[in-house]
Symmetry: C2
Subunit: 170 residues, 2 copies
């Protein structure tokens, strides 16, 4: 299997985590990660612009080959769902405008891939991301860890597929 750079994204209208890993055969290597603090931009249109520009810059700087997004938790609160949907739409446009194929995974798929079980806690996800990517001692935000977890999930699901283009891809 050839090397592949994957961009994982955990979008939100306040914080958007992003994380880049290289898949080199069965090895996963951390490249960069961070979070976009869109809440600083003020009202929603300005936030979405900041999110879009931030992710576009990340894609431009690091040239990933594929992207992966966590499927959104559909909240009981319709207004929260709408807000999160808007952030997710802005993120998706940034990724597709950078010509990246976008794969989507549910939260339980991500947790299973990283921790080995679909109901893992945030702390477990954080710890396993640090172990898998050899980042012990590096301080990660939760958003960053979640984004790296989605990237790891995508790398794993590619690895176990005969036809990667047929699964998880949209």
């Amino acid at each position: 299997m050839s090397n592949l750079r994957i961009l994982g994204v955990d979008p939100g209208s306040r914080y958007t985590g992003w994380g880049l890993i290289d898949q080199e055969g069965s090895r996963l290597k951390w490249i960069a990660s961070g979070r976009i603090e869109a809440y600083r931009a003020g009202e929603l249109p300005a936030r979405l612009k900041m999110l879009f520009q931030g992710l576009s810059d990340v894609a431009q700087s690091h040239q990933p080959a594929e992207a992966a997004l966590e499927q959104v938790f559909v909240s009981v609160n319709a207004q929260s769902t709408l807000t999160l949907g808007q952030a997710r739409g802005a993120a998706m446009v940034a990724l597709t405008m950078a010509d990246l194929p976008v794969a989507e995974y549910s939260a339980s798929q991500v947790k299973s891939a990283v921790v080995g079980q679909g109901k893992a806690s945030k702390t477990q996800v954080m710890s396993m991301v640090q172990i898998i990517l050899n980042l012990q001692g590096k301080k990660l935000t939760e958003d960053e860890a979640d984004a790296l977890a989605v990237a790891i999930c995508h790398a794993n699901s590619r690895q176990f597929m005969d036809r990667p283009e047929l699964r998880g891809m949209r």
Copy 2:
């Protein structure tokens, strides 16, 4: 009051209506309108890209000064709300990346501005848009008429304000 070109948008993951009007004093003039048929692009990421590119092209070609969006109807169905939110996020990014201030109006504000009452039917909105913009005989899609109605609503609310920059703007 100076002339102003307004872009109204009615976003959706299948169809996105857009409509441009010029406000010349108290007169409103139709400039262009249409709809982006994003459902043709296939899956959601490709749809959102088409929506973003389509609105970016409209903004580039017609150089509006301000934009107005209808606030989304929050559905009982959370998945529909999420999908609509994603389309709206993509639209909002296209408008803000074109450096347009984005105002938002509820459906009842739009109907009141165009028909004179907040519970008007789609047919009433369509007819009044055609009368106000002198488009009798021109065939409009519902999405196009809704987008023009939002633009008219924005023009009206600007006209009746002492400080247009303080109301409805985000």
